[in-house]
Symmetry: C2
Subunit: 389 residues, 2 copies
Amino acid sequence: MFASRYLRQSLTQHTRRFNSTLAGLDASKVKVTKSQALKPLVANKDLLFGHTFTDHMITADWNEQEGWLAPEIRPYGNLSLAPSAVVFHYASECFEGMKAYKDKKGNTRLFRPDMNMARMNRSTARIALPQFEGDELIKLIKEYAKLDDRWIPNDRGYSLYLRPTMIGTQEALGVNAPSNAKLFVIGCPVGPYYKTGFAAVKLMATTEYVRAWPRGTGDAKIGGNYAPGLLPQRMAAKAGYQQNLWLFGDDHQLTEVGTMNLFILWKNESNELELVTPPLDGSILPGVTRDSILSLARGWNEFKVTERKMTMPQLRDAIKQDRVVEMFGAGTACIVSPIKTIEYLGEDLSIPLDPKDPTSQAGPYTRRFNDEIMDIQYGDKESDWSVVI
Amino acid sequence: MFASRYLRQSLTQHTRRFNSTLAGLDASKVKVTKSQALKPLVANKDLLFGHTFTDHMITADWNEQEGWLAPEIRPYGNLSLAPSAVVFHYASECFEGMKAYKDKKGNTRLFRPDMNMARMNRSTARIALPQFEGDELIKLIKEYAKLDDRWIPNDRGYSLYLRPTMIGTQEALGVNAPSNAKLFVIGCPVGPYYKTGFAAVKLMATTEYVRAWPRGTGDAKIGGNYAPGLLPQRMAAKAGYQQNLWLFGDDHQLTEVGTMNLFILWKNESNELELVTPPLDGSILPGVTRDSILSLARGWNEFKVTERKMTMPQLRDAIKQDRVVEMFGAGTACIVSPIKTIEYLGEDLSIPLDPKDPTSQAGPYTRRFNDEIMDIQYGDKESDWSVVI
């Protein structure tokens, strides 16, 4: 009885704004105001992730009386918000990371944008921000990308990183579901994550802090999941490791690496070659790259592909028995991030990269995932995942 | 070895900004700009929590090159921030709640402000925001309270709610410790939480969501702890309950109630009268009111006072055996919030209020805690906890 009541409430909760008479997000109502002072482009070689923004941005305001007001594409600029706005106090905020790519014909492409829209609506539902029509936001992003076309770099490896964000803007200190919200999208041209090819990373396993837990918010892309990761990240950096490795539970289950999903290619307990990633149990972010890698690997059908829990002691044993083949993080920023070392309880454990090339910074499977995904993103390989604007 | 390395790093981490040559927060450098258009006061009867703000606010900016710049007291007004500011994306934000009270002589008083400053510095450390000199912020708050003195209501039960807040303002999308931050304090006159005396609340025990976790952030007053609570709160409200009761673990340990700490006065397993509150194990917010209640109760020495875990099944059994005497939430907004009902797994459990007065909305001990704390806050009883401005 309790479960059914919960489910009923939950569904009502998550969909009430679609069922209501409130206005939905409508790209056809967009008001476009072009910037009168276009900024100089930044040379590809000078691009630093997340520091350079294009000339325009998308904004749309929502309130609980009217729903979504007409969206705008307008010059990139500051937001003016009351110091009492709930986003400053209660972390009423969620976001997405996605990219626009130039193919060889000069077309602009998005990579699985429907996945980002669906996840963002799950994130907003989890923190009582409003739902929005994902297809309409994709239309707005397409129009924005056309307007700021000159900011989308041409070279393979370069792209326009897009950051859809929703924040609660109600001006009141009570801890309540926000009556007002703002959706915005900003974009920044970015270069390849590794400018000189792959650079395998060293991880420090974090045993003092946990990122997420069952029935928490680890599967939602909300701001509150990120600030608490800065301290373990900085502790890792000070000790000479590029990222931290998040563990969970007394048995030290592997969960995520920094802000990425985690993959292990190993010979399992039955000596089968197996690609393992932690399962979507509610505490793992359902990454678009994660999903793409699983799908590609299942399509290859060359080894077992499993979403399952694995503990750090199990991994340590496998490393010491030379059963680990490759490990990598996966996310939109880097696609894959090869891992060469994990520090765990004071011990540095070495992960193989390429057995045939001691100078290589990535294993052959890690490279292959990277290259196949890039081929799709840049339109060199036809796929439903790549959406031409 | 691992533990000692962690402790060393942690200490370095948390104090590096005090050990450095960066400028500290310095109230003597304050620049005061008075508002040229004072707002009309709002009548006490019309005050709604967190909606009315005074004429001025405190702001201070920090950057990692210089440290704290000169603070300002300036007209209350919007913050202008880049849409890339980290506070909008990664919940780089933490806050405090405290109040200024008028005593019968017309003095303004703060209640244990050192506790708020210490906790805020623990919160900033946990999310890689800068440390600040708490004594200096108290000086700034005193100056601000003098300037906006007309906004501090005179009547007992009324006060000026103060909201110190720190946000990360760096304009960059990389997930890194912010290079820039802003501290601000806003104030709003507020009335008694219960305008017509106490109103006991009905709670719904939340079994689908978990607020905090060991080695998480439940003991820090950071924004990210609050947005995820809105959904369970709204589910409770829709089912006719004023607040949700947070549980933890498969055994359903009691943790917090809504955004308050939880107290149970009961006859324990040995038939001793005992005041119980969940222990500060890292997942419970160390409330100033919580600490004050424990201290008062220990001073009374009339019953056992214990910080320990208690499960919902234990509480249910005690309720059914008529061993529960009173229950209440505790926090700055309400001081105490008497509890009359808890819904747990489909069953409404009734908690006694006042056995001698069936019309009463609070038990005698709950009232006594409330009255003794108010006596101190309003200067009717001398105490080191009350600081005259």
